[in-house]
Symmetry: C2
Amino acid sequence: MSSISTKPVSGMRDHLPEAAGVRRAAVRRIESSFAVHGFQPLETPAMERLSTLLGKYGEEGDRLIYRVLHRGKRLERALAGEAVAPSDLAEFGLRYDLTVPLARVAAEYRGALPPVFRRYQIQPVWRADRAQRGRFREFTQCDADIVGSGSILADAETLVVLHHTLSALGFRDFTVLLNHREILRGLIEAAGIAGADESATLVTLDKLDKIGRGRVEDELARAPGVGPDRARRLLELVPDDDGKVAPGDLLAGVSAELPAGPARDAADQIATLLDALDDALDGALGGDAAAVRFAPSLARGLSYYTGPIFEVVAAGGAGSLAGGGRYDGLIGMFGKRPVPAVGFSLGMERILMLLAERGGFGGATAPRAVLCPLSGVAPGQTLAVAGALRARGVRLEVQVDRLRLGKQLARAAGSGARFAVILGPDEAAEGRCAVRDLGTREQQTVPLAEAADRLLAPE
Amino acid sequence: MSSISTKPVSGMRDHLPEAAGVRRAAVRRIESSFAVHGFQPLETPAMERLSTLLGKYGEEGDRLIYRVLHRGKRLERALAGEAVAPSDLAEFGLRYDLTVPLARVAAEYRGALPPVFRRYQIQPVWRADRAQRGRFREFTQCDADIVGSGSILADAETLVVLHHTLSALGFRDFTVLLNHREILRGLIEAAGIAGADESATLVTLDKLDKIGRGRVEDELARAPGVGPDRARRLLELVPDDDGKVAPGDLLAGVSAELPAGPARDAADQIATLLDALDDALDGALGGDAAAVRFAPSLARGLSYYTGPIFEVVAAGGAGSLAGGGRYDGLIGMFGKRPVPAVGFSLGMERILMLLAERGGFGGATAPRAVLCPLSGVAPGQTLAVAGALRARGVRLEVQVDRLRLGKQLARAAGSGARFAVILGPDEAAEGRCAVRDLGTREQQTVPLAEAADRLLAPE
């Protein structure tokens, strides 16, 4: 049997206690923040019908969906056919994201859900992507959305909970970049680029942060439907944000160039949003390190956005922490009418990586103390002492093997515990125990009632 | 598109907020209890290699494993062959339980894990079982195990954390039934039944609770290797426990009938365990409703147990809440040496069902209050008030749609919130708001600073 590989499946990970502890601590903070903002949990099955999944993520997405093989008679029948096609072999696939399940839930339980449904969902998704550093085939997504309202206040609330959640995780100096799909559309129109070339232009424009203005202009200039003049004009319309101009002023400048109609309305919406967030986030727009910035070149890849779009970038080039926006055309896909929606996805795996690097979230899973019973102490005595300490809230492991004290203390130190509690037969009889600091090696024998105080004392 | 079914896949469930809230609350209580007993979290991928999974759960188990279809070129090659066999089509399957992944982890990370590893794991598993009431194809398992120690103190610690966890979930009057594989073996030997007939005999004996002594004796009497005399003798050796006899006395009686050797040693172990638990669980063996009972007929289905076995049954015939025991032969299956282990599995889905029926765990996901802004209040004012209340810990939803007050209050009541906070333009300017109890309809206008106190006041 030992020839079987015991590594996890390629692209997937085992989370040993320290990592699993960070993940749990992060999820708890996130869930507390979501709850205080009125968001409620949803869980859906790992498997969905392929008819639900396919065609929602583009051709590339469809290729990356894991399919679940038919079983029993059904598989036999499929394999008995002349030419077996892949579509004969599977009816179900693994969840690829959390948005399609939300759309399915919104349609299935429309009567049971509130008219404006604030839901969050934190579950793994699976994508048969090329496994590479930092990209996994099983990873956790964390989405929060307000479904059923087209109000700009819903967009604002989404940004409020996002900002609060990242702060609760200990992130500082991150920036919320804010734009609107119709502003982008208006700018492209104002530059004289035809609607047919809009998508390709957006893809190039979205690279501004990565490759810089010069190379974006070059790329646009070479694009058949754009050319050098319109490329230059478009980049003039998208000012370089050095962070010194107040977001409202930047927006006013861009707005003046926009054609009247949806694009100008969109600019007004963003102005409202910026104002509201400035009040809500306690001066979010003030100073050099403004928490919220208008970012007229922000495009975000997904074509399903219909209104405000946003992305949160960490300070110091640590990349994107979250992204989202309004997508009024998607949640209604399984129902009879459109359902407006706005929300975001936290970049959980990146966030968890940053938290793990930063430290401070881990360690909480290690026991605080290890109880080391000496020879002659009855199991019942050991467990009674353990029970008394645990009842006081001490995270306590009982050292179960009969070992000499030195070995027990070494194991206790190896467990990551701060203290050992040593229980000999005399102490047990007298209701006392020795508390040993495994760092300083200081040790003191105290009555049991005092032991918990010592173990729980803040550093 | 609307012709696509939006129901979850058969045998799997969507957990809407109320149900998801109960699940989360239960998992948090369980995790707190595990942590205080020094157990640490482990997470493993949903997918495992079929070589890891197959052959571990018997023929029936192998049939129930969901397999993940090959993709791309690999699938093309498989389908291009002459006769396509199911084994050509899949390399990976979905996790069937949490024990095999633990065995894999124990082998893979042997050097990194502590010599005695207390781990818990709470994750879904998938079984392509016949879907029926109360049985699901995706369900959560919750396992806690101590891996790496053969000490009876490990068995005792396992029972301590199990008892504490069920108590933390609010269960009362449950009973821990305790037996030992070697005692069963010894009783069967003492009844004159040959070793070859042991397994079949155990299966029948395990039905005592369900079908009663008469029918068990009939069934054994008809079994080829047993017959009426040995059947009667075996049932004499397994006394009927009416709960009136102290577990230690019951054990002493049975022990006297056991052959010397492993069976008698096992009885001594159970005696030690009963004593230790009586001390640890504060008189667990006392009185009519003893928390821990010796149950000489308890067999538990799984043949992999090697030592003490136990099952927790809820009061009032609500069935089994948890089961477990020592299984020293399993965790080492992927490594070079045997690894002793003891642990249990909580019956999560039954427990969650009982908690949901009992109530008291739900509701915590609903917002405490809904903020209803009236016409003329700016979004920023609304969000600033919301932020102040949330900062005090009020679970608050902002009503985002522009609606007249009556409609807003109806929605607030529908959300399950206890209070509405009504914010008009005058109040907003004066730093006041109206707090309305949605149950009693009492309403009072108070300074904002007082509002949080009212909203958070205990009932």
